[in-house]
Symmetry: none
Subunit: 401 residues, 2 copies
């Protein structure tokens, strides 16, 4: 992982600009018919031009063989040890709907579920009720009163909601009520450490009240909670790198992750072009831009090889406007691989492109998984991307005399 | 090293099969006449076919420049930090003759030696007495009685034996009596920690009795002990990876190492073909197979370049029966290099081949040290082989949300 103490000691603010362009789930696997991955299939003249003048390689997000979720994936790209900074399920869901978590808040992920007459769970998702229905049920919880606690219950999507508990001295470190299987009763929430016993009582009280309120709302006649967690104490990118960072993303979860590390989230439109335009319009005001592209991952998850190819091409096209303004450092990479043929995240290392006036170019002239094998960056941990970006932007002083 | 906590948290049992084929001492150095290593000289159509569809690289067993013994070599291949899990000399010898060590047993490696009239060691190996003679002398120790201790003395080979002490509260942490040089007296064994003082007394008592018994058995008129150790507390591969692992090996030490990490050792014949046949016959009953080939290392140790080449070819030939049953993951590698021109283990990284439906192929089409330099796995620590095998067998869930 990155040695934050080291970086803090040598980071120096400067007007140079770094752009971290993340194509979510960028890495792929070959199409069995052509032998070429999504990135290798896409026509990407701009990326190829950047890599020809730049340097590239393959990065492991967590470590070889480990398939990362979106949270560890992005933390690693921002330079944070993904095994050292764990973001709990409750916090991630809260962050994902743009809920503004305060320090000390305890967030849990909730499921509306179905229980039978003997209180055994028969459907952990209550038949996937609609998001509207979910919102309606969440509102019913407004009447729950817990002494010295402010309660926020917000719908997420379908049967999913979040419950956030705010109050003096609350702490996570309690078990789940969600048994993660059917045919059994919801579990009583218990404290995993002595100081969490109040939180356990409060959570059980919430569950008991919720049960009463939901009794007549079959199939959503019960609620399950899991992943009680607090916003992790992350040093901000401003503190570590002395950067003024901005984030541009279309999906709430990525905006939330960016906020957790102290980025300012910029308002943008609804398309990839909008995102690039937002960057251009705000170029003078920040020295670091995280630009997130969601479509590559969604296409990969759907097993849609062609759509993933098209989105990569769309990004390549949008890139031309960026190349024109000549940022000091452009990094293009993914937060993990999402090969369309696997229809999900995978453990394969992500291709990384680094373009800067100060990089030592390799012989690679096209941006692809295959070509990155022989790139000048070699195979390296993704947490080193940020120090490399900082160095190439001449934002790191010499270490030692 | 592999983060066992991480792997434990995401490992999930599945019917997929992993084969770890270890050619002991596989890595080599070029023959000065041809410029080609043993592996590069061997005709290996099956290995080449596997690598063409697979991915390859070079692995460091301990770290660059470090020449590993067989124990750290294999531990690393099984995913155990070879610097964190040390197997003492006594335990390794015991394991090597298939002695079934119980928890708490303290094992020491023994040498029959020669001492002169003033008790100075004149030959640490007693003229390398025959193994038969060694067995005969070991039997004489049956009459040694030590209070509350059960003593096992077993011949190994030539002048070598093991002494195992079994009893309540015994612990290793004592010095050697073997001075490791001639012209000096055997050393008194002393405790390295307070709770080992009883063990030191017992060991000295054994040595004193042995001296009396051996007095008339010149040149083997004395015994030396070293490497007092206990069976290390290794988490099993079943616990870490949720695998049901089996081992196939011809030499006792490798069977013993496999047992230490919780593998079941399968009965097999005496040839390489027998070993592959055993795997095939037991294919349905396990999901992980460690298949050990000894001959490559022995040939390397003997400086017999041609024999090492022939054994690699023999393995390649036997492989065809395995390829036919289409295991989900095949790994081919070595536990260290043993270049014939060095006549011993070496520090050079080992070639690694990984074949699976889910690997991201590189451009390598032949399995050789030279070709592995540009393989898609790059240069990596050998402890990462197991997580990679697990990932490619789809036995690891996603980490983090």
């Amino acid at each position: 992982m990155v040695n934050f103490e080291l970086i803090r000691g040598i980071a120096q603010p400067s007007p140079s600009k770094i752009i971290l362009l993340v194509l979510d789930g960028l890495g792929g696997l070959p199409n069995p018919h052509t032998g070429r991955t999504e990135l290798e299939t896409a026509d990407t003249p701009n990326l190829d031009r950047l890599v020809a003048k730049g340097v590239c390689g393959l990065a492991d997000i967590v470590s070889p063989g480990i398939t990362p979720g979106s949270a560890p994936g992005h933390l690693a790209l921002f330079g944070y040890d993904p095994l050292g900074f764990i973001i709990g399920r409750g916090v991630l869901e809260a962050v994902g709907i743009d809920f503004s978590l305060e320090p000390g808040d305890v967030a849990a992920r909730g499921n509306f579920c179905t229980v039978d007459k003997t209180d055994l769970v028969t459907d952990r998702r209550a038949g996937r009720i609609s998001t509207d229905k979910c919102a309606e049920l969440c509102q019913l919880f407004d009447k729950i009163v817990i002494e010295n606690v402010r309660l926020f219950v917000c719908p997420v999507r379908e049967h999913r909601f979040i419950a956030v508990f705010r109050g003096e001295g609350l702490t996570s470190g309690v078990t789940d009520s969600d048994p993660q299987q059917i045919g059994v009763a919801p579990r009583t929430i218990t404290a995993l450490k002595p100081q969490a016993s109040r939180m356990a009582n409060i959570a059980n009280q919430f569950i008991a009240e919720a049960k009463k309120i939901l009794a007549k709302h079959y199939p959503a006649n019960m609620a399950l909670l899991r992943g009680f967690s607090e916003r992790p104490q992350l040093p901000t990118m401003g503190e570590i790198y002395k950067l003024k960072p901005a984030a541009i993303a279309l999906y709430p979860m990525y905006k939330g992750l960016a906020r957790l590390v102290g980025m300012e989230v910029l308002k943008t439109g609804t398309t990839i072009e909008d995102e690039f335009l937002t960057l251009k319009q705000n170029y003078a005001n920040y020295d670091f831009f995280f630009l997130h592209i969601k479509g590559t991952d969604s296409a990969g998850e759907d097993g849609n090889f062609e759509r993933k190819v098209r989105i990569i091409e769309e990004v390549d096209n949008a890139l031309s406007c960026l190349i024109g303004i000549e940022p000091d450092v452009i990094i293009v990479t993914g937060d993990h691989s999402t090969p369309a043929i696997l229809k999900g995240h995978s453990w394969h290392p992500v291709p990384v492109l680094l373009h800067s006036k100060w990089c030592r170019p390799d012989k690679v002239t096209e941006f692809s998984e295959q070509a990155c094998v022989s790139g000048g960056l070699g195979r390296f941990p993704a947490t080193q991307i940020m120090p490399l970006a900082m160095a190439h932007a001449l934002k790191l002083a010499k270490f030692g005399a």
